[in-house]
Symmetry: C2
Subunit: 376 residues, 2 copies
């Protein structure tokens, strides 16, 4: 087991902006769980970084440049960019903790951690094209910075390298890990298909998306990779099947909680913090949990919201603000906070059901809580 470093400098500003998603969960214990989570994220990033750098270095120089930009390591000129556009590295941490939870050395999970970070980056790259999202982490999305064709290619390169990194992993569990990653990839891509198809469906009446349908989609689109990350680590750490299953389930519910927070931030998040335009999801007419829960709630605000959404072809800035207010009035924001809390509780229960090593179980729990307690 890798020792925890003594440094505890937080790598992200603490959550808790007024009106942020922080209220979705219990407040962080001062100096407790939240410090543990930031330490864990830092430790795992440091453990995985050399292999991740090496994997990106194996790409064609041009796709490698786009990958470094997408990972927040460099700007479009290839110059190192210490501006903090790098992701938190949640998925790599889950993979490392998955192995440690099974009693293995976190280092055993590194090929899996590399794979899930590359898959995550690939999926952001391609999803931004599909969703026409021009901004990602406060910078132009790769397709905006390099063009659509090159961004498709960079995503493909990351995808191929992700599978290769895992297929070439040493030890007896590489083949099982590849099968685990493949299941994750198929589910992830299906989830993205469901999400895109939702855009064609009406807000109300026959064929409308209901919260349960949305939950299934989010379980595929977001839950699969978080569940897959932790499962991959466990597989590489030689965990028995039932431990892998429990950890995967925990990660999947964490993903649902994570997505609920994402949906809150997509409507009410501060653009200066989220790095995305205000009301971006509403303007795109995206079916998200807050809106669907608001519509499902009934009542005057819900009816007014439905009428508004059904009658509006393109939602402009002013309409989006009005829609956001109606969603809140109809209880969509509260319902989504409750959904996040419920999914987090389920995830934590799944953790407690598995026979995990004490330290890793505690760190996973702290990380799970921390992830709900975010502003971007």
């Amino acid at each position: 087991m890798t020792a925890l470093p003594t440094s505890a400098a937080p790598v992200r500003p603490p959550a808790g902006l007024p009106g942020s998603a922080a209220a979705a969960t219990s407040a962080p214990t001062p100096g407790g769980q939240d410090d543990t989570a930031t330490d864990v994220l830092k430790r795992c990033r440091e453990l995985v970084r050399p292999a991740l750098v090496e994997a990106v270095g194996r790409l064609h120089p041009w796709t490698g440049e786009m990958a470094a930009y997408a990972l927040g390591w460099a700007d479009t000129a290839g110059t190192p960019d210490p501006g903090g556009s790098e992701g938190k590295g949640v998925r790599q941490a889950l993979a490392v903790l998955g192995a440690e939870a099974a009693g293995a050395d976190g280092a055993d999970a590194v090929p899996g951690a590399v794979a899930v970070e590359l898959v995550h980056t690939f999926s952001l790259l391609h999803d931004d094209i599909m969703d026409a999202d021009a901004l990602r982490r406060q910078r132009p999305a790769v397709w905006k910075a390099y063009g659509t064709g090159p961004a498709v290619l960079a995503g493909d390169a990351l995808f191929a390298q992700a599978v290769a990194s895992l297929a070439e992993a040493p030890g007896p569990h590489a083949a099982a890990a590849v099968r685990c990653l493949c299941r994750t990839l198929n589910t992830l891509v299906s989830g993205q298909a469901e999400d895109l198809r939702f855009e064609e469906r009406p807000w109300s009446g026959p064929g409308a998306v209901v919260p349960e349908g949305y939950r299934s989609m989010a379980g595929h689109k977001t839950g699969a990779l978080l569940g897959g990350a932790i499962a991959l680590g466990a597989v590489l750490g030689g965990a028995p099947d039932r431990t892998v299953t429990a950890l995967e389930r925990a990660g999947r519910h964490l993903g649902l909680a994570f997505q609920a927070v994402d949906d809150i931030l997509g409507i009410w998040g501060d653009p200066a913090v989220t790095g995305k335009p205000v009301h971006a999801d509403l303007r795109r007419g995206k079916k998200t949990y807050p809106v669907l829960a608001a519509l499902a709630g009934g009542g005057r605000a819900a009816r007014e919201l439905a009428a508004r959404l059904d009658s509006t072809r393109r939602i402009d800035g002013e309409t989006a603000a009005q829609v956001a207010a109606l969603v809140e009035e109809a209880g969509g924001r509260t319902a989504t906070r409750e959904e996040a809390r419920r999914q987090l509780d389920t995830a934590r229960r799944a953790l407690r059901d598995a026979p995990l090593t004490h330290t890793a179980a505690q760190e996973l729990d702290a990380l799970f809580t921390h992830l709900l307690d975010r502003t971007r």
Copy 2:
């Protein structure tokens, strides 16, 4: 070993349109090698089809619909399309013959055959986006028919399913086969990157692409998947490493010959047969072997060609016809035919160097020759 079916109905019209690429190779032996090749292609398609249909059936229905369209199985309404837009199935046949050449049953190669057909379809889908190619096999490309975002997604789904099909393959060689596929995928994506980067480079002077550089790119972009297909079959058939290496080498040189013919068809092919616009490659300013060989040849026509290309920002229909004439006059077409012949000879020699079963070696040889002898 699977017995050859007695039916010998050719599934494609014989080659030999005047001025076609048929002259790149020796004329087909009447009733001999060419009949063998069409039989082999048909037999392999029939062997692989059920597993391929099953793999596509595992996709999300929407991406499955796009995949069926891309494979030429259905139109955009999902209605079965017996109009003959289906590919020849070269890669699946190479995989099957790779296993048979190693003395195994062709059925052992089926998961590999499925994987390479799915990878091929994925790469066509994404390459058409990157190259802005609106037509594929005489129909709108997937991105034209369904939109860019959905086409990106369908490609991703095929990619994921390709790896999954192989990772779940029974028998003791699945893990080695996945590693083989990963190498192929990385090389394929690098080749596409090189090809796209060539578009930024000048036709002449410093930084110009020379035929040798082009050959390296084509070896990655086209050779890798043909070499990978045959190698995958051999790996799944339990062939020793040196046999796999020899077969992969044969396939890679076949790919170079194949690409040379493709380049000839891209300039002088009959649009009614190729399914692509006339002079498509020239209009896009694509660096292809005929143009590069013409430029490298020196002489008056070469100098005139260089001046024309360097001074033209966008090549219209009339200019493309003049450029095509200059490329031919400067010897580009003849040089490309010679290149195809040379690469085919190298591929056939690589086959003879490997200890292969007699029938499969003969069938591979017939297939290799047949593939150079095509008009689309």
